[in-house]
Symmetry: D2
């Protein structure tokens, strides 16, 4: 799902771990890196005291590391992970993942993502944009990215999603970003990309889930509106939250003002979440995220 990118000299590895909490995990893992000649550049850990779960992100420079890249996972699993009953992921900085963007008719999140990608703020491949409407095709063309339109109605949803999944597999897509994609994904579809679909919801969840949150916020007379990015799960707008932010509003703001102001939140929060995902800073556990940033 990735292409090789950075030069090996600056390359680093990142391990994301969670396991039942017990003594000695930090010591054991850091000692493993150290003894094999790795220089730790970042170490974050968190203990969920209530659930007795340990979380860790550790990043180290690969230059001079004794274990070859393609053996690190195996060695770590054998020597350490099994002992502590760990769930773990290993990522390399020189592997650039493939990301698909799903859109509908609104362009602000798409523009924001593509301008960050074009200016190399985010290091990611974007082989394709998928939509259920044709409106944003010109933007895809502007940025030289393939655009695939799958119009969805009451009858064709299952087969359209199957076609989308084939396309995603073909392009070895690692994760999906729903950039204001206004179509609910089916449970089977989500199952293929568990904790790998990032959505932006235009409210401060759990307030105002579902459709037309700005209209609901306006009706309720709130003084602050928000936006929430989260991984998509089968329950609508209820997946693990990655990031949230808010902006102040007043009685003087119309629904249209809320929508306009909210767009700035949506795009910035969604792009910030893509950043965290790409930096391998996010761990998911039981519908919550640990974001080491």
């Amino acid at each position: 799902m990735t292409s090789i990118h950075s030069s090996p000299d600056q390359a680093s590895a990142t391990l994301l771990i969670h396991c039942p909490d017990s003594k000695g995990i930090v010591a054991t893992v850091s000692e493993f890196i150290y003894r094999n000649n790795g220089n730790i550049t970042n170490l974050d850990q968190h203990v969920d005291v209530k659930r007795k779960v340990f979380f860790m992100r550790i990043q180290w420079e690969l230059r001079n590391f004794i274990i070859p890249d393609d053996k690190i996972g195996e060695y770590f699993d054998t020597l350490i992970a099994k002992k502590f009953d760990m769930q773990w992921q290993l990522h390399f900085s020189h592997e650039v993942p493939n990301m698909a963007v799903f859109v509908s008719k609104q362009s602000h999140c798409l523009y924001d993502i593509l301008s960050r990608w074009r200016s190399q703020e985010i290091e990611v491949n974007i082989p394709l944009i998928i939509s259920n409407h044709p409106e944003l095709e010109p933007i895809a063309r502007q940025f030289g990215i393939d655009f695939h339109c799958f119009e969805i109605n009451g009858l064709n949803k299952q087969e359209q999603e199957q076609a989308q999944l084939r396309l995603l597999a073909e392009h070895q897509i690692e994760f999906i970003v729903l950039a204001r994609y206004m179509q609910i994904l089916s449970e089977p579809f989500i199952g293929h990309y568990a904790n790998r679909i990032i959505n932006i919801h235009h409210s401060f969840l759990p307030a105002f889930p579902g459709a037309k949150p700005y209209h609901s916020a306006f009706e309720r007379g709130v003084k602050v509106i928000g936006a929430t990015s989260h991984y998509v799960t089968k329950e609508l707008d209820a997946g693990p939250i990655i990031a949230q932010d808010i902006i102040r509003v007043s009685h003087a703001d119309s629904v249209e003002d809320l929508i306009r102001k909210g767009r700035d939140l949506e795009k910035v929060i969604l792009s910030r979440s893509i950043w965290h995902h790409l930096q391998r800073q996010i761990l998911v556990y039981q519908n919550q995220t640990v974001v080491f940033s």
Copy 2:
């Protein structure tokens, strides 16, 4: 419900108005003040375009105003309000209102209010503090304010509220502040103080109404917590919102951290709402507020 305070020389009057929208309201009202020799120091207006309602706050210096204070209401009603079908309130800066504070066991909001009162940041009389628990009596004593404890159980709620209401009437209380008062007020009680009871709820409403919102926020894994001040209505935590604010949290925050961080929000927002109320900046219409600030 007030005592005379400021010297007449610096005195000002504030009119709060709402009425069906139509042409000429601003011109007519401002001309009324102007012609009678009043100097307008503040004028805010808002049109609720959807509901076609006009809102206005106008403040002017009373020095040299031709109409005597105790006749302004009558003249305004006769000459202007009736013509536009206005609801209006008139307030004078030299009348200092009486406020009652209701508390339970937590002290942070109470301390915050009393320290602002003592340092004269807010100009208000606080003749009494009411509680359903005895714990905070020492603070009332520290500040020299009468403390009345009404313990409430399943059987005595109605008669205790009656006793409270008598006490409030006796002290000519204009408005009530629930400073983390953990007891639901009955509908009849609320009816006596419509839009004159300010509550602080420790969540970003409409998210997490009811009990233990910080625990719910923690369970949901939110990245931002909030607090909301509102006027109390019969529907729990659903009254017109006055002010809201938020603070960022992370996976590293325990429920206790959320509670601790939330206290700073609660006290600042509640006190800010008291400020707006005392400045006569708030208009309520159909479960929403217009806050001219």
Copy 3:
């Protein structure tokens, strides 16, 4: 400097006024609109008590307004402005102004402006982009806008600015946006566009004026970084401030992180300021702004 755009039926006029404070201004101006059959949709006023200056923004629907558009200014000046010694501007919602964007090598502000323009969030004409470097020409081409490169060195600055001014005049440019344009404009150039050049400075002014503010902020160990939009005056980074905002940082953020996080501030604040300018919400007086929003 504008092109006709909206249909006359929804058209409105906006008056921006400032003058020495005195009694009766609100009454007189609103009465002028009312008597001539205008429906006031927005009225904001502010009194600078210290300097005794009165500011006002008043917006009304032109449908049925008795005075023809091209005579409103003359009538207002004769009947009212002279009496109160007013400075005033009159704008019509159906006149869409021409804006020039100046850039250097960084693309984030430019992308943000162009995507809002393309999606019609902002109603403005952008006939040309000017730069002192060729790097961003592809973006101009992406959006179909003329790109003019004026490389500037120690010797040619004056003549290059003259050429720029000719080009701006040719395109009837009403106002200029410096979207991270890294070249100081000369005093004569600025003189042609007084209070009509909007700059974004990447710090919380007056902290860190001049070059490399993120590096200075990093050295100082601040916990918050900011960005500031302002009208350009001859004194560098000292013009009237339009908008400011901040983002939290920590010891864990490198200079590169500050630069990355700051970009999101810069683009949102700059675009928000363009919005305010286009809505005719900004009044400038003695190096300060009144922003009625």
Copy 4:
């Protein structure tokens, strides 16, 4: 400088370390805790890449820890610190430090600190309050704390500071909080409490250092005001920053409004900094702080 407080069963130790960066520090330190039967509950580390300095905060439960409390420092220094050329501090959760509060005439920060202390939000001893004015003595009395007034003029500053220092030594004061103390401390005085005097400055430093920052902010027409807490160094308002925050203001705010809104910032940020200091979350290095929170 401390009194024993918590029961040993819940007791924990916290080590704050900085040293030249090198491989193996995390592994070595965490292994030291682990091997001696300590359960690490928190570990934070930071590498200042530019200066090549390593920072670490590590907290562990003392129950079952093999090394007795009064020997931990010695063992750690001998076995580990010397090897890595570490600067370190060791703190125990059951040792409650003594804090002195310095005030002048404004009460808001003092009230905020005392109400948090009285409600046990912060675990600290406050044996005395020192002031250069008598005004706040009643508040000290309200809370049952000794109040010492040292009026300072051009002639007596040196001897008054000497008297203050004797008093602080007598009460074994560990750190000092300047809660809007409007008197500049001399360099010798500061030398006795290096990185142990916390000040709150009422601006967003480095903007508006020195006197009357709200007046300067008003004159400059800023749209955001701030407050900054920092450790006091000999250069005025230039010490290492602990925390900063801001609040939005507008043209409608008078200087008095800025002062009033600023008070809420000042007290919350100052108290938050006391919290970080008491949690032993702050490391100072070359005029910057690392705040592990």
